[in-house]
C-alpha cells in the first residue's frame, strides 16, 4: 500500500466535475484507491461518497493506493491531483 497527502489548491474544491474525473481515473486501476479526510475514508470510485466528503480548497486529504498495479496507480493519481486539484 502506498499513500500520499495533498492539499487542495483548486478554489472550488472537489465538487461534481472533479469528483467525476477523479472517479473515472480511479476506475482505470485494479488497485483500491481511497480518499481520507478528517478521519472519514471513502473509495475513490464511489462518486457519491467522494462528493459527500465535501472537500474544499485548503483541505488536506490522504490518498491510499493498494493493489497489484499500485506503483503506476500511485504515480498517476498523484500527478492527477497536482494537475487538476
Amino acid at each position: 500500500m502506498k499513500t500520499f497527502t495533498y492539499t487542495i489548491q483548486d478554489e472550488v474544491g472537489i465538487h461534481a466535475r472533479p469528483a467525476g474525473l477523479l472517479a473515472k481515473k480511479a476506475k482505470e486501476f485494479q488497485s483500491t484507491i481511497t480518499l481520507e479526510k478528517g478521519g472519514k475514508s471513502v473509495n475513490l470510485t464511489k462518486l457519491m461518497a467522494v462528493m459527500g466528503m465535501g472537500v474544499k480548497c485548503g483541505d488536506t486529504v490522504t490518498v491510499s493506493v493498494d493493489g497489484a498495479d499500485e506503483e503506476t496507480a500511485f504515480a498517476e493519481m498523484q500527478a492527477f491531483f497536482q494537475q487538476n486539484l
Binding site: 472550488v12 465538487h15 474525473l21 473515472k24 462518486l47
Partner: protein
C-alpha cells in the same frame, strides 16, 4: 479471408445505394426536361409554338434538365460522401463532411500538379476534366469511391482518438476531417502519377469489351444477373455505367466516360439524333425480361401452384411481378424461385444475357437511371421517340420473351417438380406463415396503446440472434444487410416467418431479402432495438406464446405517469420521475462534456421553466453541496442520484440558490429540494440546464431516458432495469 472480403464488398455495395437512390429522381428531371427541349422532339411533335427558347415553359423544362444534370455531373462527389456514410460505423455525419473535404483536397492537389506540369495541354488527350470548377484528372466515380473508402477507413480508425490535453479540442470526431485532409493531399499527389497508368489500362480493357461485340454484351448480361444472389451486382455493373470501362465519347465538346454518363449526356445534348448503342447495350437488355419475361414467369408459377394455394400465392406473385414491371426491381420475384429452383435461375441468367445481346444487335438505345422498369422505358425510350431509341424492339422482343419465359418456367416446374411457391410440402412453409399471422394478429391486438411491442421487429431481431449478435446493420433496395458476431445464432425459419423471402449466408455476412419495403423494416428494427424489450426477446416470445397471460403480464405502460411496472424479463424496473418543470433533453445535448460524455453517470437533463428542483423519488438526501447548486440523494431502492443545477454554477458560490433540505433528511417524491433565481443566474452568464444522473449506473443492466420535450414534475423521466 474470403468471407471477410465478401463482408467488405457487401458493405461497399450497399453504401452505393444512397447516391443511387437519387438517380431515378435526377433521371426524371433530366428525362422530362431534356426530352422537351430537344430540338428534334419539338420539331417532331410540332411543339414549337408553346416551347421555344426564352419562353416560360422552355425555361422551366431547361431548369429541370439542368438540375438533373447537376446530379449526374457531380456523382463522384456524391459517391465520396455516400460511400463514407455507408462504410462509417458510427458518427456518420462526420464521415460525410470528411468525404467531401477529402474529395476537394485530392482534386485540388491534382489540379496544382497539372498546372505545374504545364496545364491541360501537357497531359494526355482526354485525360483531364473539370470537377466543381477544379481542373483535374478524369477519374469518374472511381475518384469518389476511392475517397469514400479511404475516408471511412480513417474515420473508423480515428473517430474516438484521444489527443494530449493541450490538443484535446482537436480530438475525437474533429480529428477525422483533419487527418482526411492531410492524407488525401498525398493521395492526390500519388494519383497524379498513378492514375494515368490506370487510365490507359482501363481504356484498353474497355476497348477489349467494346471490341468483343455481341458476345461481350451477352457475357456482361449473364454475369450481371448471376451476381444478384450475392448482392454484388452493383459493384460489377457500376464501373461499366460510370467509368471508362463502359466506353468514352466526345459529346458537345466534352469527353464523357461510362455508359450511363454517355446516355445522359446525349439525352441532355440538343443535337442528339440517335443514342449510342455502344453505351446503352449495358442497360437496354433489362427492359424485355423485367417488363415482360419475369412477370410471365410469375404467371407460370401461379398456374403451377396447387389449386388451394393459388389465392395466397397469387397476391404474392402479383405484387412482385408489378414491382418488376413498373420499377425494374426484380429481386422480390427472383428470390421466390432462386432458392427453391437454382436451375431455373441459371436459365433466367442465360435468357437475360441474351436479352442484352438482342438489344445490342437490334440497335436499341434506351438508357435508364436505376433499372429497367416501365417508368424508365417511358422516359428514356418512348418519350425520346422511336427514331432515336428504336424502343419498339423492346416490346417486340419482350412479347417473345413473355411466351418463352412462361413456357420454359411452366415446363421446368411441372417436369422437374420444383417447389416454387404454392407447391411446397404442407408441413414446412405454410406453418411458418401461420405463425407469423398469429404473431401479427397478437401485435395488432396489443396495438391499442402506443407502446405496443413491434412483433415483426422482435422476430427479425430474434432471427438474427438478438441485439448482442449484431455488429452492423444496413439495407439496400431490397435486402437487409447485416454483419453478425456469430452466424450460427441466425435462425432462417424465424426470419422467413417475419416476412423474408430468402436468407443468404456468407461467413458473418447475412442478407435477408424483404423486397422494397426493407427500408421500413430496417427503421422499425432500429427503433425497436432502442426499446427495453429488445434486451429481453426470449421473455417476449415466451409471453406471446403463453397466450392466456399476455394481457396481464404486459400491461401497457401508462404514459407519462408514475412507476410503470414493466414485466421486462427477470429485471426489476425502477423509475425516476422528472425533477423540474421545463424541457427534457438527452444528456448528450448538455453543454458540458463532463455531463454529455457521462463521466458523472447516465441520465437525462431538463432546461427548467421555473427555478425549483424537486425530488425524483422517495429517498434520503446524502449531500447538499455547500454551494447549494447540486444535491446528491439515494433512493429507497439504492439508486444514487446527482442533480446539478446549471453549468459551471459552482462558481456562484451559493449565490441565488436556496436549499430547502439538509444532509441526511428523508424526502418524498415531489418534495421541493432547492429553489433558485433563474433570472439572476442567467444574467450572471450561466446556463440553467439541469442534469439528473444515476451515479451507480454500473449496478443496473439498462438505463432508458424516457422523458422528452415539455415535461412537468412527476412524469416518468428515467427507467432502470436491474
Amino acid at each position: 479471408m474470403k468471407d471477410k472480403i465478401f463482408g467488405v464488398l457487401q458493405r461497399v455495395g450497399r453504401s452505393f445505394m444512397l447516391p443511387i437512390a437519387l438517380l431515378p429522381v435526377a433521371g426524371l428531371l433530366l428525362g422530362l426536361g431534356s426530352s422537351f427541349t430537344n430540338a428534334t422532339t419539338i420539331e417532331t411533335y410540332h411543339l414549337g409554338n408553346i416551347i421555344y427558347e426564352g419562353g416560360l415553359l422552355y425555361t422551366i423544362l431547361d431548369i429541370m434538365s439542368k438540375a438533373g444534370s447537376a446530379v449526374f455531373d457531380n456523382l463522384a462527389l456524391l459517391f465520396a460522401m455516400g460511400v463514407s456514410i455507408g462504410m462509417a460505423k458510427k458518427e456518420k455525419e462526420v464521415a460525410a463532411l470528411s468525404g467531401a473535404i477529402a474529395y476537394l483536397v485530392m482534386n485540388t492537389a491534382i489540379s496544382a500538379l497539372i498546372s505545374a506540369k504545364g496545364g491541360v495541354e501537357a497531359m494526355a488527350a482526354n485525360s483531364t476534366t473539370s470537377v466543381l470548377g477544379i481542373t483535374t484528372l478524369q477519374m469518374g466515380v472511381f475518384g469518389g469511391i476511392l475517397v469514400g473508402l479511404g475516408v471511412a477507413a480513417l474515420h473508423n480508425r480515428f473517430y474516438k482518438i484521444e489527443l494530449p490535453q493541450v490538443l484535446s479540442f482537436f480530438g475525437g470526431t474533429r480529428f477525422v476531417p483533419i487527418i482526411s485532409t492531410v492524407v488525401y493531399l498525398f493521395v492526390g499527389v500519388i494519383m497524379f502519377f498513378l492514375w494515368p497508368v490506370v487510365q490507359s489500362g482501363i481504356s484498353h480493357l474497355g476497348t477489349l469489351v467494346l471490341r468483343s461485340g455481341y458476345a461481350g454484351t451477352w457475357i456482361y448480361g449473364i454475369l450481371e444477373r448471376a451476381l444478384i444472389p450475392f448482392g454484388l451486382h452493383h459493384v460489377f455493373y457500376m464501373p461499366f455505367w460510370q467509368t471508362e470501362l463502359g466506353g468514352s465519347m466526345m459529346i458537345d465538346g466534352n469527353m464523357v466516360s461510362g455508359a450511363q454518363n454517355i446516355f445522359f449526356a446525349e439525352l441532355a445534348s440538343k443535337s442528339t439524333t440517335e443514342f449510342s448503342v455502344s453505351a446503352t447495350r449495358f442497360m437496354s437488355g433489362k427492359f424485355p425480361f423485367m417488363i415482360f419475361g419475369l412477370p410471365a414467369a410469375a404467371f407460370a408459377m401461379y398456374r403451377a401452384a396447387r389449386p388451394e394455394k393459388k389465392k395466397m400465392v397469387g397476391s404474392l406473385l402479383l405484387s412482385a411481378a408489378l414491382t418488376s414491371m413498373i420499377t425494374g426491381i426484380t429481386e422480390p420475384l427472383e428470390f421466390t424461385f432462386l432458392f427453391v429452383a437454382p436451375l431455373m435461375y441459371a436459365v433466367h441468367c442465360v435468357l437475360a444475357g441474351l436479352s442484352y445481346m438482342l438489344m445490342h444487335i437490334l440497335n436499341v438505345g434506351v438508357g435508364m437511371t436505376f433499372s429497367g422498369g416501365a417508368i424508365d422505358l417511358t422516359l428514356f425510350g418512348i418519350l425520346q421517340g422511336n427514331a432515336k431509341t428504336h424502343w419498339i424492339w423492346i416490346v417486340v422482343v419482350g412479347l417473345v420473351y413473355a411466351v418463352v419465359y412462361y413456357f420454359v418456367f411452366y415446363f421446368m416446374i411441372t417436369k422437374l417438380n420444383l417447389k416454387t411457391p404454392g407447391r411446397e410440402p404442407d408441413d414446412v412453409e405454410p406453418k411458418l406463415y401461420r405463425r407469423s399471422d398469429v404473431n401479427a394478429a397478437k401485435a395488432e391486438k396489443k396495438a391499442g396503446g402506443s407502446a405496443a411491442v413491434d412483433m415483426v421487429s422482435a422476430m427479425v431481431l430474434k432471427g438474427l440472434g438478438g441485439k448482442a449478435n449484431l455488429s452492423d446493420l444496413d439495407c439496400c433496395a431490397t435486402r437487409l444487410r447485416v454483419t453478425v458476431q456469430n452466424a450460427e445464432l441466425v435462425d432462417d425459419a424465424m426470419l422467413k416467418a417475419s416476412g423474408a423471402s430468402g436468407v443468404i449466408h456468407k461467413g458473418n455476412g447475412v442478407q435477408v431479402i424483404y423486397g422494397p419495403k426493407v427500408s421500413v423494416i430496417k427503421s422499425n428494427l432500429e427503433n425497436f432495438m432502442e426499446t427495453p424489450e429488445a434486451e429481453h426477446l426470449d421473455s417476449l416470445f415466451a409471453e406471446s406464446e403463453a397466450e392466456t397471460t399476455v394481457e396481464e403480464t404486459k400491461p401497457e405502460p401508462e404514459q407519462n405517469s408514475a412507476p410503470a411496472e414493466k414485466a421486462a424479463g427477470s429485471g426489476e424496473c425502477l423509475t425516476l420521475c422528472t425533477h423540474m418543470n421545463g424541457t427534457a433533453i438527452p444528456l448528450e445535448e448538455v453543454e458540458d462534456e463532463v455531463f454529455s460524455q457521462k463521466i458523472l453517470g447516465d441520465g437525462i437533463a431538463i432546461r427548467p421553466a421555473e427555478g425549483k428542483l424537486y425530488a425524483p423519488c422517495d429517498g434520503t438526501i446524502e449531500t447538499v453541496f455547500d454551494t447549494r447548486h447540486a444535491v446528491n440523494m439515494t433512493s429507497a431502492d439504492g439508486v444514487e442520484i446527482l442533480m446539478h443545477i446549471g453549468i459551471d454554477t459552482v462558481k456562484l458560490e451559493g449565490k441565488y440558490f436556496e436549499a430547502h433540505v439538509s444532509d441526511g433528511q428523508a424526502v418524498k417524491k415531489g418534495d421541493l429540494l432547492i429553489s433558485f433565481d433563474m433570472e439572476a443566474i442567467t444574467a450572471a452568464g450561466y446556463k440553467l440546464t439541469t442534469p439528473m444522473l444515476v451515479c451507480n449506473v454500473d449496478d443496473y443492466a439498462a438505463l432508458t431516458p424516457v422523458a422528452k420535450g415539455t415535461v412537468s414534475v412527476g412524469e416518468t423521466a428515467i427507467q432502470l432495469t436491474k
